[in-house]
């Protein structure tokens, strides 16, 4: 039983940073906690520096695995973490009674997600998942003096707890059928076996339980409320990192552990995907609040990602990984702009963005790039990602799903173009320019450049994810 703790160095660095922030909180006088953001970012960057030096293999006696895929997803989390922490620093100014734990809980959540990317066993999976979930429950309800936030936090907690119940129940069925909890062992036990009712119930419950994290049908209800009500940096964390964490788990469990049973869950996932696509995109159309709109659009995105899951192929897995990378950049750019705008205007309503191109060309352009990338406009990264997902679906002959996806892509264009219309086609009611500081400007340029680059030159990343996807089953 090898422990190989050095394979957990990135997680340890993150955890250490989080504890450091907790302790510092005790010794510092009340007031601004921006220095915490800097410490958090430095900690994240140190974790990132350790990533390329990781070797592949098992750790913690097989509970934990470090492979190409876990490293890829850890990069996504690290990127999200840096930007989310930065957004918190911007956001902090506007909040009374600010408490420094906010930073440390975010770092805790990220370290949990990094563990999720490496889970190799149902036990370590469940523990990591709950760790992340508890952090996010706290974050979602952090502004306890706001009713909207409290409501959002409560909804998130209740649906989350229910989904966890489904998961653990399903896991127990699978354990009952196979007698093991390790992903590789479960896959081995299920190889070539006729599926029994026991296993099938387990699969169905696990799939349903997993839909909470990725905000798809049937556990999607929290998403619009929480996206709208939670502090904006938390919304960004949920949208970007938490969704990616949900899908790395799906790749590990559905493709990895339950891969031999893919004939059983493909159709089920396809149905969930179709309904999710329809619901998320159609419900997004009438939304007036940008964060809520992105919440519904996020459900729609989950539908697309599930389309690639339903394809249950290496191409599908590669498409998911590519999509999530572009999604992280799209979300980060969008939410940075939203926070800056909110700080200046105090509103998230789409109509308040009228004429933004005149007041701050950079914010308007970042929202333009971010939203259109999520919507899948060429030549942005999101387009290539959606293209790969359609490829995966067509390859497996999922024509109905592909046609639904195509139609919903047009719907998505519609509601994102409404935002663009407000920003570029309308005239501002208040023409005062919105200032954007130097660091934010630089970060926005970086994110926009990344989104465009992923669309214009997707070759290297595609080759990388397709290579990683080879080992997913």
């Amino acid at each position: 039983m090898e422990m190989n703790l050095f394979r957990l160095i990135p997680e340890f660095i993150m955890l250490g940073t989080a504890f450091l922030l907790l302790i510092l909180e005790l010794f510092l006088p009340k007031g601004s906690r921006k220095a915490f953001g800097v410490i958090g970012i430095l900690g994240t960057v140190s974790a990132a520096i350790s990533l390329p030096y990781q070797d592949y293999g098992l750790a913690l006696a097989g509970l934990f695995v470090q492979d190409q895929m876990s490293i890829y997803f850890k990069w996504l989390f690290v990127i999200s973490s840096v930007f989310v922490l930065y957004i918190v620093m911007l956001y902090e100014d506007k909040i009374n009674n600010w408490r420094g734990e906010f930073y440390s809980i975010i770092v805790f959540a990220i370290s949990g997600m990094m563990m999720l990317a490496s889970t190799n066993d149902f036990v370590s999976f469940y523990v990591s998942l709950e760790f992340v979930a508890i952090c996010l429950y706290v974050l979602a309800a952090f502004l306890s003096d706001s009713r909207v936030t409290s409501e959002a936090g409560l909804k998130y907690l209740i649906t989350g707890a229910l989904a966890s119940g489904f998961l653990i129940y399903g896991i127990s069925f699978i354990y009952g059928a196979t007698g093991v909890t390790g992903f590789a062992e479960v896959a081995k036990a299920l190889q070539g076996v006729e599926p029994t009712g026991f296993v099938l119930i387990g699969i169905v419950l696990v799939v349903i339980g997993l839909t909470f994290k990725i905000s798809s049908i049937p556990f999607h209800v929290w998403s619009p409320d929480v996206y709208q009500g939670a502090p904006t940096p938390v919304t960004a964390l949920l949208a970007a990192a938490s969704k990616a964490a949900g899908f790395v788990v799906i790749l590990r469990i559905l493709f990895g552990a339950l891969g031999p049973m893919k004939g059983e869950w493909m159709a089920f996932v396809a149905v969930i995907s179709g309904i999710t696509l329809l619901f998320g995109n159609l419900a997004a159309m009438p939304q007036k609040d940008l964060k809520r709109l992105i919440g519904y659009a996020g459900i729609g995105s989950a539908g697309y990602l599930l389309m690639a899951v339903a394809a249950a192929s290496e191409l599908g897995a590669g498409a998911i990984m590519f999509y999530l990378l572009t999604y992280v950049f799209g979300i980060i750019g969008t939410f940075t702009a939203i926070v800056v705008f909110h700080n200046s205007e105090g509103s998230d309503l789409v109509e308040s963005y009228a004429g933004l191109y005149k007041r701050s060309p950079l914010l308007a352009f970042s929202l333009f790039i971010g939203l259109l990338s999520i919507a899948g406009f060429p030549p942005l990264g999101g387009f290539i990602a959606k293209f790969y997902i359609f490829m995966a679906a067509i390859k497996e002959g999922l024509w109905v799903l592909a046609v639904i996806g195509a139609l919903m892509a047009i719907v998505a264009m519609y509601y994102f173009l409404l935002v663009i219309k407000s920003m570029y086609l309308r005239q501002p009611t208040n023409p005062a320019p919105i200032p954007v500081d130097m660091t934010t400007t630089g970060l926005l340029y970086f994110v926009n450049a990344a989104t465009i680059l992923l669309g214009v030159y997707p070759g290297p990343v595609t080759d990388l994810v397709m290579n990683i996807a080879q080992g997913v089953f």
Binding site: F377, P378, T462
Partner: protein
């Protein structure tokens, strides 16, 4: 061909201008216009050069450039042109070059952004006509559609927000549906050879079962047909034309609609049996285009709406020519794509010129303009004659070829279609009479004729092209023919087999 990447240069020239314009100050209008003119003039010169250096005897795809883009999925940046594309590239260059001058006169605010979107759109159009890779084909196709949204939304006239949303969504839907068909082709072709590639030459070189061809041709026909616009999927087009600023209408009717027809030609080339199956349907629908478009054009009082519907009527002839699948008919269709592109660009630029001063486009608001703006009146008359298919202008040759081709394959359709010309002549002549002749009205005393070099250049240039091709069509037809012959031969072989 090794060495000089002429195709990339034609396409990248507007794209380079877009990037350059990013760094230019809004207030430096002269510089903005200078960059736009320089880049489009470069493309135009290179396109003309391309027309003359293209080897008509050899035919096939020439000037091929290929760079790996996504190796693991077989996507490459792969350009090449055949006779059909050469003509289309030249058309694009002519329309955008004149369009830049029309915008000089017509666009008064956010000038830099206007040119950026306009040039971005044109780069997309060039890309579609040159791409030999299905992914890039699709990518460029979308790149040509999406800038329409801001172009109409920001600089358009009445009803622009509705029109631009309608247009963008409709065209994107077509593109998405076509994409599904293209992806299916990728996997079917890959399964046959074991090498998965989006290389159009490779995919077209294989033969597919007829059942499959018939099935997959349909999404492609629908997808590209929306852009033509094939009836009954044309509703986006006239509203879009009417709301768009002049230069955008020129590009939209002059070039964008041709992308659809070009896409259909390429789909026919890849799936010959599927094409043979669906062509009688296309021929039937083309008559609806011709007559429905013509009749509605007759009933419109807004000149832009009239030309918009007239365009969909003329595209009916193009579709009829394509549906004949014989050498003269398809040649006629491609030549008509060119001729109509130039003619309709002229029409929209003229109407735009009058509208910018008069702020109305209603036929009944005008009378006797010929006395006030003789130059515009003459140009408009020439446009009207071209549109009605009078000899000496490019459209006559093209329409004649379409009819000759159609008589061979669909004699009944052809006889019906000929009457479409009378419809066209009716509304064109009536519009000319009402707007330019009869008694002059006092309220238009201040109307200024096109008098400066910048104002006159687009009109003169477009008329010159119509005349040159009208009197000496073989300058284009020889090149087009070298692209049409292999296509038609492949289709006819499929019919026999």
């Amino acid at each position: 061909m090794e060495g000089f990447p002429i195709l990339s240069l034609i396409m990248l020239s507007p794209l380079a201008a877009v990037i350059l314009l990013l760094f230019v100050d809004d207030a430096r209008v002269a510089l903005v216009r200078g960059i736009a003119i320089a880049s489009t003039a470069t493309s135009l010169a290179l396109s003309l050069y391309l027309l003359f250096i293209y080897d008509k005897v050899k035919g096939g795809f020439q000037f091929i450039e290929k760079i790996e883009w996504v190796q693991s999925l077989g996507i490459s940046y792969h350009l090449g042109v055949d006779g059909i594309s050469v003509a289309m590239v030249l058309l694009t260059s002519i329309v955008i070059f004149t369009g830049v001058f029309v915008s000089w006169v017509g666009i008064k605010h956010r000038i830099r952004e206007h040119y950026m979107f306009l040039l971005l759109l044109v780069a997309g159009v060039y890309g579609v006509f040159m791409s030999l890779d299905l992914v890039f084909f699709f990518l460029f196709y979308e790149l040509a559609v999406i800038p329409m949204y801001p172009l109409i939304g920001i600089w358009g006239s009445a009803n622009r927000e509705y029109a631009t949303m309608n247009l963008t969504l409709y065209l994107s839907l077509g593109a998405m549906i076509a994409l599904l068909g293209l992806l299916s082709l990728y996997f079917t072709a890959g399964a046959k050879t074991g090498v998965y590639t989006f290389d159009m030459l490779q995919i077209a070189s294989l033969s597919y079962e007829s059942g499959y061809q018939i099935k997959v041709f349909l999404p492609l026909l629908f997808g590209f047909g929306v852009l033509v616009p094939l009836a009954p999927f044309h509703s986006w087009s006239p509203t879009g034309h009417a709301a768009a600023p002049s230069a955008v209408s020129m590009l939209h009717a002059g070039v964008l609609m041709k992308l659809g027809a070009y896409g259909i030609l390429r789909a026919m080339w890849i799936l010959p049996e599927g094409a043979q199956f669906w062509m009688p349907w296309v021929a039937g629908l083309s008559l609806i285009n011709i007559f429905y478009g013509g009749m509605v054009a007759m009933s419109r009082r807004d000149m832009k709406f009239m030309i918009g519907y007239s365009s969909s009527s003329h595209m009916g002839y193009v579709l009829l020519g394509i549906a004949t699948v014989n050498i003269i008919g398809v040649n006629g269709a491609v030549l008509l794509m060119f001729a109509h592109g130039v003619m309709t660009a002229l029409a929209f630029s003229l109407i735009g010129f009058v509208y910018d001063q008069a702020h109305t486009r209603m036929i009944y608001d005008f009378s006797g303009l010929a006395k006030k703006v003789p130059f515009v009146a003459v140009a408009f008359a020439i446009m009207g004659f071209a549109s009605s298919g009078l000899p000496g202008l490019a459209n006559f040759v093209a329409e004649l070829m379409v009819f000759i081709g159609a008589f061979k394959e669909y004699p009944v359709h052809a006889i019906i279609a000929v009457f479409g010309i009378i419809v066209t002549a009716t509304y064109m002549l009536r519009c000319m009479r009402d707007v330019f002749f009869r008694e002059p009205m006092e309220k238009w005393d201040d109307l200024r004729d096109a008098s400066t070099f910048v104002e006159r250049l687009p009109f003169v240039f477009l008329i010159a092209v119509l005349l040159i091709v009208g009197f000496y069509p073989s300058v284009l037809v020889d090149v087009i023919n070298s692209g049409v012959v292999p296509l038609v031969n492949k289709l006819n072989a499929a019919q026999v087999g």
